[in-house]
């Protein structure tokens, strides 16, 4: 079974700071998805990374994929309070998606 691990599980960061969330997965995949989930809400798609070396940016978030290392990163630049949420990565395998454990991000003033 494909395993997807994220770290850290919890992240408290000050506004204006930068940080990176890591997503490691255990078997070969050339695609990876990042989602955001606000408390009590559904999952919102952030990024779809479709190949090795893919990099996508949206606002203060940038995601990258290294399929050889089986690693994706979600980099947060100059965090603001609105980015407080839980972030999940997900990797497709067979006919399902395997989700990471999630990173709960709190941005404090």
């Amino acid at each position: 079974e494909l395993k997807v691990e994220q770290n850290p599980l919890f992240l408290s960061m000050q506004e204006g700071k930068n940080y990176t969330i890591y997503c490691n997965y255990s078997t070969t995949s050339d695609r990876l998805y990042w989602y955001r989930q606000d408390p009590g809400k559904s999952l919102e798609s952030l990024f779809v990374l479709l190949s090795n070396g893919a990099v996508k940016q949206e606002g203060r978030l940038m995601a990258s994929l290294d399929t050889k290392a089986r690693l994706s990163t979600l980099h947060i630049t100059a965090a603001v309070h609105d980015l407080s949420a839980t972030y999940f990565c997900a990797v497709p395998g067979g006919n399902q998606f395997y989700f990471g454990t999630g990173t709960s991000l709190t941005v404090i003033p």
């Binding site: 798609s45 779809v48 998606f97 989700f99 999630g102």
Partner: protein
């Protein structure tokens, strides 16, 4: 913009009762999924559905669970005899260029 819809938004049921959760996926999508998320935990895959049949299911998806696409638009998840531990958010998703999630149904089993 097309979206996945789910009903009801919240369902309260007694242990042992049957529940049916409903989803309307995006119309031109072919792959559909059900997930569950126990409060504060990660998203767990239940089942995927393609071409009117189950394509993959997890260990969670035991004989108490079933899925149907009864009329070509709705996609339903039935839990035959609910248990307390079935209390969770249930999300439906459909796959196009990316996976689109519905708003979820909060199931509370008392």
């Amino acid at each position: 913009e097309p979206e996945v819809t789910q009903t009801p938004s919240h369902q309260v049921t007694q242990m042992g009762q049957e529940v049916i959760l409903r989803c309307v996926p995006i119309s031109n999508h072919l792959y559909f999924y059900w997930y569950r998320q126990i409060l504060g935990q990660k998203v767990e895959f239940l089942v995927s559905f393609y071409n009117n049949e189950i394509s993959e299911k997890s260990e969670i998806f035991d004989d108490q669970f079933s899925v149907e696409r009864p009329d070509g638009s709705n996609f339903t998840l039935k839990i035959r005899s609910t248990k307390l531990e079935d209390s969770a958010m249930y999300f439906c998703a459909s796959l196009g260029r990316e996976q689109y999630f519905g708003p979820g149904t909060r199931l509370t089993v008392t």
